[in-house]
Symmetry: C2
Subunit: 348 residues, 2 copies
């Protein structure tokens, strides 16, 4: 055995969550003490699992920092009016789990974070695997993660509400991924909450500060939401395919807000089966990233950042898998409880 130590966490080492291990008398521990439940993923009754018709299986693995964070979040959610929606028994569609387990995407399924890549996405989004990950080497390197979700019983209207409602309190963000989500706040919460404004007026140009675990990587970043067109998506193709929901953005490191480190595409449309969502993440650097108006010299800046951080093709590939697992887990979770929490909190 060698004593070679090469770093594989690409964002930041995990801070030890002091105190997390002490909370062994938490709700979860007592749930675990019970003998084999008859149902793999029991819910607490606050929601009906809008995705129950999908063929799903429980998430069988969480990195240690996430296990510890869960206990902190379980305490933090106490007393909130929406605390009943906090459910750590997460699951995901079996076909998404299997697609991720089968290794990096085949070359023909890897898209570049260019205008041409986004055009291919808009023309062929139904033809890609339901989930996947890989590394984009050409023009990069960057990690690549992708998914297509169906959320029975969910509408684009609910998603718009969620993206304006949850960043107001970090505890709302916990609901979405109880093991991984730590903090969320926006520059102008009043504007985000102002229902007299349009969705774009509330969210765009109102950066979200998020901290969360992506696998065992601790991400401390700022999401700069904006229109799909601002990132290079063809507006005519959006219309043609009836994509009416958008939560796309550039993520920068918290301490380097001019450096685009992630291009994130979140698009949704209403279908008879429920809301369909198309997600893409490019994480790292790409030569085409000089094109974003709000991030001049983004290509060079991101390249410098990931070079300094020592990210390699191997570490990016691992990160891409973790990003894909994170996306699969958190959106499957959100799709389960969104209809019920919307009914209960959207109009009050």
């Amino acid at each position: 055995m060698s004593k070679e130590f090469s770093r594989r966490n690409i964002i930041k080492s995990i801070p030890l969550l002091a105190g997390g291990a002490l909370l062994s008398q938490s709700l979860l521990s007592s749930a675990v003490a019970a003998k084999s439940p008859d149902v793999p993923a029991p819910h607490k009754g606050a929601f009906n699992d809008a995705g129950a018709s999908l063929n799903k299986s429980m998430i069988s693995y969480y990195q240690v920092p996430m296990q510890k964070r869960l206990k902190v979040n379980e305490q933090g959610i106490q007393g909130k009016p929406y605390a009943d929606f906090f459910d750590s028994n997460l699951d995901a569609p079996v076909d998404m789990i299997r697609a991720l387990e089968s290794g990096p995407l085949a070359k023909e399924n890897i898209l570049q974070p260019t205008k041409a890549g986004l055009k291919t996405l808009m023309e062929h989004f139904k033809e890609f695997p339901v989930s996947g990950y890989a590394v984009v080497e050409e023009g990069g390197p960057c990690a690549y993660a992708q998914s297509r979700h169906i959320f029975p019983g969910v509408t684009t209207e609910m998603f718009k509400w969620w993206f304006c409602w949850h960043p107001i309190e970090s505890e709302r963000y916990y609901l979405w991924f109880p093991h991984a989500h730590i903090h969320n706040s926006v520059v102008d919460p009043k504007r985000l909450a102002d229902t007299s404004l349009s969705y774009g007026e509330r969210l765009y140009g109102n950066p979200n500060h998020i901290t969360e675990y992506i696998g065992d990587n601790y991400l401390d970043g700022i999401i700069h939401f904006n229109t799909p067109e601002s990132f290079g998506v063809d507006g005519a193709l959006l219309k043609k395919n009836n994509f009416t929901f958008n939560a796309s953005g550039i993520i920068t490191p918290y301490d380097a807000p001019s450096t685009p480190l992630v291009l994130m595409i979140h698009l949704g449309r209403d279908t008879p089966a429920g809301m369909e969502m198309v997600n893409r993440y490019w994480i790292g650097t790409h030569e085409s990233w000089d094109r974003f108006e709000s991030f001049p010299e983004g290509g060079i800046r991101s390249r410098e950042y990931i070079t300094k951080a020592g990210m390699t093709k191997e570490s990016l590939e691992n990160f891409a898998y973790e990003m894909a697992v994170h996306d699969m887990t958190e959106f499957s979770s959100l799709g389960r409880f969104l209809p019920d929490i919307y009914r209960q909190f959207a109009k009050s």
Copy 2:
């Protein structure tokens, strides 16, 4: 974001599996291309899943190196008479998965790798959680992982056969954990295969060289199997509890065969519900490890080894979780196919 790089893999960095990514047309890929299967973990028909009566769920996560190794092993198994038993759709009992997800073991459930700790184990093995992990700090540090399995339809006789049969060819070892197992060989394969000898005469003092992934840690080690008593287990308590199967051993690094790095306890007994197995792993160093006759100064040597390797409490805790996940996964897998492969290959 900081650029601090602290090493969390405690054994060795992962060699890139050149070529693994190229095998995208493998059996697995085509299975993945199929739409949502109706059954989460379909078997190929070579075995009946002896554990089907347990409440199980699929394993939803494999580190990237394991995903790539699976494709290598899928090729390697081709043409072997037992190839039909190779099944990568793994699952595990829901209560074991949940116990591991709930964080490190409570203090009162952490045993020391001492004679006294082994006595407590033999007296109270039914009272511990079905699976768990933690770090033993006192006298260590060492990672600690534990489990108790029930294998319906499996007997201690089958397990004895398996431990003498599988190390003869690495491909047999693949069957056990298709994503993680790479190599297995013994010093004296003739002796291991000699059915005129007793189980102990075949396995003890006949070291196994194994390479495998524990999570994304690459382990290159030698298992020195021996009697439970040689490690400090009380023979009277073994008898009293009817433990008739043993595959306990000390694991040393391949390149440091005098340094005990793991104390591994594998004990089994026949019960009306099937074979019951009690497993313990202590990985790292412990002051009590000077007591093993075959590893003089084992406590000092292991302490030097893990100090040089830069293992910390944090890295050991992560390794303990990975070890517990590995144990849960591989023994659940073995329990599924062992009765059928035993019927087919034990008497031929």
